[in-house]
């Protein structure tokens, strides 16, 4: 079950000041220290593109990019992110043009209901950067090598994002397309 917003519970500690930088904009917040980054994005900043799925780090719907790295925003507190650069699905498009990964998901039909999609896309954007940085994965035969981004590698690296519509084949195709240079 998703946690209730904590505001109604008794004996709360006083709100804490924190400035969050989200999609290049700085937001000064007075916030209960219990509020997760996910809830702060959705409830305090009205950035509802980031989705709450399991709220326990298993589904990946809440994936955002913090200082260039993808994380589960449900398992971190907003107050822990002063000074961090946070990118959500709303921050990927530039000047009205979809990010290449967003365009590839559209082109390859990498979704059905769309609920997991913001997390999938944020995760995929970071995945491509991690691969470019030479990171190995569990399916890399020799961890000292820099593996090619095969479908098996993509699937393993996306295992933190669940799609209950099972659009996986097209998600993998979209990511492969972008990693190989893409069309958009």
């Amino acid at each position: 079950m998703a946690a209730r917003p904590p505001s109604a519970e008794a004996a709360a500690e006083p709100a804490q000041k924190v400035a969050l930088t989200v999609n290049g904009r700085r937001h000064a917040l007075d916030i209960d220290p219990r509020v997760t980054l996910l809830d702060a994005l959705r409830e305090n900043l009205a950035l509802t593109g980031t989705k709450k799925g399991c709220d326990q780090g298993q589904c990946g719907a809440c994936t955002v990019i913090v200082n260039g790295q993808r994380i589960n925003s449900c398992l971190t507190l907003a107050v822990m992110h002063a000074g961090d650069e946070i990118t959500t699905i709303e921050g990927l498009a530039e000047d009205g043009d979809l990010h290449p990964m967003q365009a590839a998901f559209v082109r390859h039909d990498g979704l059905q209901c769309g609920y997991c999609t913001p997390g999938q896309i944020c995760s995929a954007v970071a995945l491509v950067a991690e691969h470019k940085a030479g990171w190995p994965s569990h399916v890399t035969a020799d961890v000292a090598s820099v593996p090619a981004l095969t479908d098996t590698e993509i699937a393993e690296r996306m295992s933190g994002n669940i799609c209950r519509c099972a659009a996986y084949a097209n998600i993998v195709a979209a990511i492969r397309d972008v990693a190989e240079g893409g069309r958009s």
């Binding site: 946690a3 904590p6 519970e9 004996a11 709360a12 500690e13 804490q16 209960d32 220290p33 219990r34 997760t36 709220d55 326990q56 780090g57 298993q58 990946g60 994936t63 790295q69 993808r70 994380i71 589960n72 398992l75 971190t76 507190l77 107050v79 822990m80 002063a82 995760s123 970071a126 995945l127 991690e130 940085a133 030479g134 990171w135 190995p136 994965s137 569990h138 890399t140 020799d142 961890v143 000292a144 699937a155 393993e156 690296r157 295992s159 933190g160 994002n161």
Partner: protein, 327 residues
């Protein structure tokens, strides 16, 4: 989540002093602790965020090893080329655990201190001596398929969930800590964890406020390093059984071996008995099976997890065979 006071650490000494309060806890990556706080299994009144402390580097030691800062993320450690080349076992183990999103937040110190994923520890409607001391253990006669078979007690049969720590155990890692009074000490990883006995809620030998600063890896032992994890699905699942092996060979015989298991005990389970059985043995299935037999000699199943005992033997055999290049 229960209310708590949040403190951003400004130095090691003050962080240790703050966290020495009985109701205080350190927080680093938070991927396990915040989950447990949402469920009110962990209810700290005071969180000391050690994120700002300068413990995020991996340094070469004069002896030829590595000193890994407690705040080095699992991702950074697994991707470090020195680790990948010299301690591939450690990269393999880390990459076998969790998802990239979690590894990007999870830290070296936090991984060591994560709590069990025993279903009854998480189910607040059931007895659990680890969660509520004295309440009993629902896992003993419950659905204990994921639970431990070695070194545990009738008070608690929870298994330690880490993969990283299993590799570190095979690599003879040392845990470097600093206490509230500033005293530094070094704890062999095998001595970090306390057997459950009658007090399964006390999981490590760390004192209140004692902070893991770093993990010291001695120079890599000679031989091939292989980590093998057996689980219910191909990715993002905890181990049923895992094996970490370092195998040095000479003319189709074992010169020296290191063996550690995950998923079998309250801690990563080093088997010096298996290592002794392997020393000098021929590189054959019979030798590997003999090592597995002594490694699991004291194992006890609790019903649903009986399968782990033969599975661990077979996993060890397969891991040794892979390390010997005969798989």
């Amino acid at each position: 989540m229960k209310p708590f006071r949040y403190e951003r650490a400004s130095g090691v000494a003050s962080a240790c002093a703050s966290a020495a309060e009985p109701t205080a806890k350190f927080i680093a990556g938070g991927t396990n602790l915040i989950d447990l706080m949402k469920l009110q299994i962990e209810t700290p009144a005071h969180l000391v965020d050690i994120g700002p402390l300068p413990l995020g580097d991996i340094e070469e030691t004069q002896e030829g090893g590595l000193r890994i800062g407690a705040l080095v993320t699992n991702s950074a450690l697994a991707a470090d080329m020195r680790v990948r080349r010299r301690y591939p076992l450690l990269s393999q183990a880390i990459l076998a655990g969790a998802s990239t999103q979690l590894r990007n937040k999870a830290t070296t110190g936090g991984n060591l201190l994560q709590r069990t994923r025993c279903a009854y520890f998480y189910d607040t409607t059931k007895p659990c001596n680890k969660r509520v001391p004295g309440s009993g253990c629902a896992a003993l006669a419950g659905l204990n398929r994921m639970n431990a078979v070695l070194g545990v007690s009738d008070s608690c049969i929870a298994a330690h969930p880490s993969d990283m720590a299993v590799a570190m155990t095979a690599l003879d890692a040392q845990i470097e800590t600093v206490a509230r009074d500033g005293t530094a000490r070094t704890i062999p990883i095998d001595a970090l964890y306390r057997a459950p006995g009658d007090t399964p809620h006390i999981e490590t030998v760390l004192a209140p406020g004692e902070l893991i600063r770093s993990v010291l890896l001695p120079p890599p032992p000679p031989g091939r390093q292989v980590y093998r994890k057996v689980r219910d699905r191909a990715s993002f699942a905890f181990a049923l059984v895992s094996a970490a092996v370092v195998l040095a060979t000479d003319n189709s015989r074992v010169r020296a071996a290191r063996v550690a298991f995950g998923g079998l005990s309250y801690k990563p389970w080093r088997s010096v008995q298996a290592e002794a059985a392997l020393a000098g043995a021929a590189l054959t299935r019979a030798s590997f099976d003999a090592a597995g037999f002594v490694a699991l000699g004291d194992a006890r199943g609790y019903g649903h997890n009986d399968f782990k005992i033969p599975l661990a033997r077979r996993t060890l055999r397969a891991t040794l065979a892979a390390a010997a290049g005969i798989a």
